[in-house]
Amino acid sequence: MRGANAALGAAGLAAFLALGEAVPRLGLVKEAYLPPTSRIAHALGQEVTDHAFWTALGDTLTGWALGLAIAIGAGVVVGLLLSVVPYLREATASTIEFLRPIPSVALIPLAVLLYGTELRSVLLLVVYASFWQVLVQVLYGVQDVDPVAEETARSYGLGPWARVRHVLWPTALPYVMTGVRLAAAVALILAVTAELVIGAPGLGARIAVAESSQAVPDMYALVVVTGLLGLLINVGARTVERRALAWHQSVRGEVMV
């Protein structure tokens, strides 16, 4: 079953690449604006031999990883705090619902004013966008705590910290992991967007330079790199999720079926 799936996946990808080659070659779109797959692949081959490309990749990953780490840390701590301290959740609910839908890209002018075109302005956007993903999942997760388990823990005399550690956290973890997976993808999108729009060093800025230089195949090659990066990040996040939740029925169930 697994082998058949992999073969189908490979066939689908091959068909997609062939389509990318054929459409411009047949003249359905102009080669100048959408180069065929082979030319993009050639440009990609030249990119990876350029030292500046790896620096840009490193810059993008730095912005992504730092931003994600800050967002996860802050999201978990704030989320637990809001749920544990009485009345705090109710008091902040409306503010959170107001702030959460603000698109991170709308904060670009603010980021530029505060930090110019440095890494910090990328971080501002990345953290803002991914923080809510984690926070909201933590809040949902905490709500899911079984009241019987909670009461049992209380009657056994567990203190607040022990209850967080042994009852609340295991219940919330599957939700947190979903939040982390979503946040990892959102963080990459925002890191590249920030570089593209603001010009902070990284893959996005390199795409912008290729674009304004009329170097169309290079631009697509870099776009492909960001896609591959997103793919790797998603695979990585899923692996972490499975490892962290190996004990949980959702993951155990997958293996049994």
Partner: protein, 323 residues
């Protein structure tokens, strides 16, 4: 224990990811770092041909012999550069004259310090032009009335320039429909007929020409002969606190501009270090002029046209703005 492992797994995932990261370009270099008598200044630039003299001058040692080291930070467009300079993220920046005059008229504390780039002043052989698609019935700027014309930014230098071309050709600029489009998207938009004409600059101009498009007006030339299109600027606070650095930057940049103007082949070489313009396109690119001094008369002409087109709420004070 398992939960601890889970935590470690997440942690190592992140550490592994960040370990791949190396910070190049920007990073946390401190502003004004002085080491061994060398002052590092950050310059906010747009990665286009116009700023090549800075890169070339740095290579040639025009800055280092005066104790300056330039740290070029590329920004996407002037919109990020002006706030960056005013807030002190950059010590110097590159901006077109209309944007600088608009900023000055709104009392944004900017001070132009040294010339940036000028039009070649030769109609038909400038680095920017109004172009129409191959075979278009439009032959002159007058015929743009009622047509869709793309400019990179509405209400800025290029729109003013196109309006002046239409006016000079005997047309009514208020009848032209302006749309905003990035320079690099103009070739495709022109080719597919989404727009009737485009005010396009290099290197997109070379692409447009290679598609067989025709130039119908050199708008920057129409504004004024030898128009000063852009200048390097700083904030008034920085200028007052560091007159010495500003003076050195002025001298070194003036020397770089003169050198660039005299050595076009070296300019084309320098351009490849910070853009990705393909060699075939770069060979076709019309280089701008880099006079060492700004042309005050041309800036005044531009100011008058900008004012006529309603770009200023109050008149900019050129004596305060210019060096």
């Amino acid at each position: 224990m398992r939960r601890l492992l889970a935590g470690l797994a997440v942690g190592s995932f992140l550490v592994a990811a960040s370990a791949c990261g190396s910070s190049g370009g920007g990073g946390a270099s401190d502003k004004n770092a002085s080491s061994g008598g060398t002052t590092t200044v950050k310059v906010g630039v747009i990665p286009i041909v116009d700023v090549a003299p800075l890169y070339l001058g740095q290579q040639k040692g025009f800055y280092s012999k005066r104790g300056l080291k330039l740290s070029m930070t590329t920004a996407q467009g002037g919109a990020a550069i002006v706030p960056g300079v005013v807030s002190g993220q950059f010590q110097f920046g590159f901006s077109n004259m209309t944007s600088l005059m608009i900023a000055q008229s709104q009392n944004v504390p900017v001070k132009a310090v040294v010339n940036g780039v000028a039009s070649t002043g030769v109609a038909g052989k400038d680095f920017g032009a109004i172009t129409v698609k191959k075979g278009s019935p439009i032959k002159s700027a007058k015929e743009l009335e009622g047509k869709k014309v793309a400019v990179n930014t509405l209400k800025n230098i290029n729109e003013t320039a196109v309006r002046e071309s239409v006016r000079k050709a005997g047309g009514d600029p208020s009848k032209v429909k302006f749309v905003e489009l990035a320079f690099d998207q103009m070739p495709a938009a022109l080719d597919s007929g989404q727009i009737d004409a485009a005010m396009v600059v290099e290197p997109a101009l070379a692409t447009v020409k290679s598609q067989g498009a025709t130039e119908i007006a050199s708008s920057l030339v129409d504004v004024a002969k030898g128009l000063t299109v852009a200048m390097y600027f700083t904030s008034t606070q920085y200028e007052q606190k560091n007159p010495d650095v500003v003076r050195k930057f002025q001298e070194a940049t003036a020397e770089s501009l003169a050198y660039a103007d005299a050595h076009p082949d070296e300019v084309r070489q320098a351009v490849t270090t910070y853009t990705k313009i393909p060699a075939a396109t770069l060979a076709q690119v019309t280089l701008p002029k880099w006079p060492a001094e700004p042309n005050r008369a041309s800036i005044e002409a531009l100011e008058k046209l900008d004012a006529q087109d309603g770009l200023f709420k109050s008149t900019p004070d050129l004596d305060k703005l210019l060096p």
